[in-house]
Amino acid sequence: MTSPASRRVLLAGFPSDLAAWLGGRLPGVIVATAATGGETLAALRGGEWAAAVIDQELAGPPGLDVVEAIRTGAGQEALPVLFCFNPESSRELPESLAHPPNATRVLPHPLDREAVARELVSLLGVNLPPPARPGTAASAAIAKIWERFRGVMFERLAAVEEAARAAAEGQLSEGPRRQGEREAHKLVGALGTYGLMEGSRIAREIEDLLEGSATLPPGAAGRLASLGVSLRQVMEEFGVPPPSSGGRGVEEQGE
């Protein structure tokens, strides 16, 4: 149930973990998602919104067209819009968007989610609590499932570390290599889906290094060792829900 004081923000074209994170980060703000430009316009027409965050790369119609439709449509002309763009592909975009009646604010990629939160705080006039420590789960529901499978995840990490250790000692054989590659592959898929994108990226690099042959290229053993340490660090820091999440995520109904 939404409290009357809640402000609704529509997040268009972003991963759901950002929506879940913002929903926990911003007190009194509820965050909904739309995957395409069509869904965005339909959602805006179907309710009252305090702001919209729109990505330039939004699929069908793209972000810029959606902003124009908002400004020329009835009822949403004054809606605060935070527009996120890729500075590599659109050097002149920020200037044209920065002035009303287009985007109210602009933010370049790569996005810092704390920066998104700060922009929304400014647009909505809410208070921003101190940030949670990095690497926390997007919601209490995700953190709970993570805790159930934490042992499995760290067993996978142990297999990766074993391969890295053997490689550092110049004794990597085919069995540990294959096991390390297999477990790194699983971590790539699982960690990122839990919202731990940095862990997924590191696991991907480990998988690539271990792929194919136990004879590693020069320098690979040292890199593996360093990646193993980094992966352990990000995994150990993960799993504690943000203090402000309050357990209101709707996905918790499914438990």
Partner: protein
């Protein structure tokens, strides 16, 4: 309204459970299979509307499941979405050639999976709400 039945076939229990939790909260009935053989049995027994199929599983690769589905007479009325963490472009191409309708690259954006499932089963996708 009856919830559409979705079969998740993935040997990674940590991932399958996370997906199942997300989709059950969004009013899908979810069954989980841990390998290709379990997936075929679940299709026969439960007739799910959609199969979310991991390509690299023990006990029968995802490709084998797709081949068996193609060989089944009459073909089961099931829509298949393949998934993999592999970045090899051959993987989605081969999965689609064997009958998968869509391909999802792992790691997954769970809300994007929800949106895709809605499209595949013809259910209107409603933006999901967090926080408040």
């Amino acid at each position: 309204m009856a919830w559409e039945k979705v079969l998740i076939a993935d040997d990674d229990a940590a991932l399958a459970e996370l997906m199942a939790n997300h989709l059950r909260a969004r009013e899908f009935e979810v069954i989980v299979a841990r390998d290709g053989m379990q997936a075929m049995m679940a299709i026969r027994r439960s007739s799910p509307a959609v199969l979310l199929l991991d390509i690299f599983m023990p006990g029968g690769m995802g490709y084998d499941v797709l081949k068996r589905l193609q060989a089944t007479k009459p073909p089961p009325a099931i829509r298949v979405i393949a998934m993999s963490a592999s970045t090899d472009p051959e993987v989605p191409a081969r999965a689609k050639a064997l009958g998968a309708e869509e391909f999802l690259q792992k790691p997954l954006d769970l809300e994007a999976v929800h949106a895709l499932l809605c499209r595949v089963v013809g259910r209107p996708y409603r933006p999901w709400v967090y926080g408040g």
